[in-house]
Symmetry: C2
Subunit: 405 residues, 2 copies
Amino acid sequence: MEINIAFDEALQLLLEKCSITSKEKVNLRDSLGRVLAEDIMAEEDIPKFKRSPLDGYAFRAQDTINANDRNPVTLEVIEEVPAGYVSKYKVTPGKAIKVMTGTAIPEGADAVVRYEKAKEEGHLVKIFSSFKSGQNIVPVGDDVVKSQIIAYKGQVLNAPLLGLFAALGITEVWVYRKPKIAVISTGNELQDISEIPEPGKIRNSNKYTLEAYIKELGGIPVILGTAKDRAEDVALLVAEGLERADMVITTGGVSVGDYDIVKDAVKSIGADIVFWRIDMKPGSPTLFSVKDGKVILGLSGNPASAMVVFQLLGASFIKKLGGRTDYLLTKIIVTLKDNYNKVSPKMRFIRGRLLIDNGLAWMVLTGNQSNNVLSSLIQCNLLAKIPAGSGVIKAGEKLEAYLLN
Amino acid sequence: MEINIAFDEALQLLLEKCSITSKEKVNLRDSLGRVLAEDIMAEEDIPKFKRSPLDGYAFRAQDTINANDRNPVTLEVIEEVPAGYVSKYKVTPGKAIKVMTGTAIPEGADAVVRYEKAKEEGHLVKIFSSFKSGQNIVPVGDDVVKSQIIAYKGQVLNAPLLGLFAALGITEVWVYRKPKIAVISTGNELQDISEIPEPGKIRNSNKYTLEAYIKELGGIPVILGTAKDRAEDVALLVAEGLERADMVITTGGVSVGDYDIVKDAVKSIGADIVFWRIDMKPGSPTLFSVKDGKVILGLSGNPASAMVVFQLLGASFIKKLGGRTDYLLTKIIVTLKDNYNKVSPKMRFIRGRLLIDNGLAWMVLTGNQSNNVLSSLIQCNLLAKIPAGSGVIKAGEKLEAYLLN
């Protein structure tokens, strides 16, 4: 067991212990937001045939070589082909075929003039400029080329990908099973949210915050209820969590006092403790243990401590568990918009929001930075790192920050 | 009917016609991602009582006035109070009470020393520095103050908000009904994605892309199938859509040729056409009409044209329909990372991705910018505006851009 380790080391140790969930096949329409478990190679070109990008007339570019405003070229319109049909005739010198947006380019034609730029007169059409071969023709494979890999294993499926899969006739895809995350609350002080708390007690809010974060990450929360502050109670729930889920998260009971019993609980069921305490604020009291390849992440009971560690460590773990390859948070440099008037003997993460103003990336602090304060996470999408030993940080100073989600 | 209007005017006209859906009450645990239909005022402080942020000893700060490393002060530990309980005794001069993270501060105490920084000896504890009144005590209302509005009508509910609601004992909230969006495809060229397309035909991909985008926006897609290129067929489906949904979106059939029949279809059912064509690329062929207060948005059949207009106009409309107050896209200034080697006689939106590099906001182009190309939307989260009449845009030039979602 390592104690009080550096944040980067904690993240690395956690991710090392992560194994990916199994695969399942889902219908294309049920695949939004899921994580692809296979590379998808295009089995055909998109588009598969040369098509017209507009309503107009298809002809041979060579026929318009000398055409201009005063000397239009006149072609005979031999056919009209709506989108979805193919021409019966070939385009030969002096001939044109009327086409619509999406119509396959008739054989022999190599240019299209826009409907509004030509002049139809009976079965004739006048063209007032010269065209290059290929002009206004969408080439085969303009969007996707046959044999191209259009989506990779580990990629999250979004709307344009679903559209491309549809265009390729892909009706089912292999995705990773959604990771199941068990959530256990510990603490004699916790009451149900429908109750009016007795003196000294509080409502259990961490359970709801974590449940929502897990859903946002595409996981399935398995809420296992609240253990009293006894190692045996916690151990029972952790064992249940290990059976029913891919990972267990606990809140509370990981500090240094006599009632910090998650450590004893996981020891009692034979889990290996990998580390205890991270050298950071908030969230120092974090416990990480492993049993039979499954991870138990013990978070602080303080809302912000718990959620900051969840975002910085837990979320990356859950993403990786669910097969995502983009599981690491994006690191950026931001300029602080406000003063942060506290010294930081320890490395500290502060909560804020990305603001792009005049082309620069700023961070606006989102409120009270105390360990127990959840409200400053509502608007937070950025956690900036203040190095250990820093004094007050002034507005205008640059910080390294992690972009959340 | 206005023709070929400016983009900003199109957006304004569309949003003017938007009415918000009705309200419904949902359980807190079902409210993630929903849009709040009421302001939420805190009916109590969080925390409700002064609490200890750490495991340690509570005492009177005044007792430590002269304490230092060589001259520690010794206090008598008269009680030990775990979190969730309240002290039986008061702290008086010379006394201390052992507390845990989350314990209510005992009466008489106004400071807490961290467990690791004190030295317990039998029923005594030694403190080695002087404390200020309030030190290591979480004040009442540190997170939320009673009567404070913690969430506003029109705000999307996220994980920290759900946690705060739980902490306040809020078990149900009023949210806006999810907007239902009917999707109609038009075009003789469209075939089902499970079929191998006949010559000149393509699979209907727009339906799947739109269905997914609508879900991502928190709407309920109502997929009404494909109409052939006949105004009567389209009219029937639009009428069905107006009955079953809050808004209708069509793709295809809005260009200038003889087969562009959505305009005729909506006229035939008595809808008012507000505008037709927007002075922009891609997506110029856009039709906007209204019938009995419900909006029909006619998009191009070209995938990228349709989806760019959907993102720039449709998405804002759907967000507003669903009650969101943050329905407008965020405008930012970005520096182009790549050359864009095409001149732009018309105002044009180009697809790219935000990259924050060394504190600056860059835009990386995401590929082929043609009207028919969907693949450059996969990674796209930024649409930058190139003003009408622009020449080639060089890497390093600044553009105004809309940040998607």
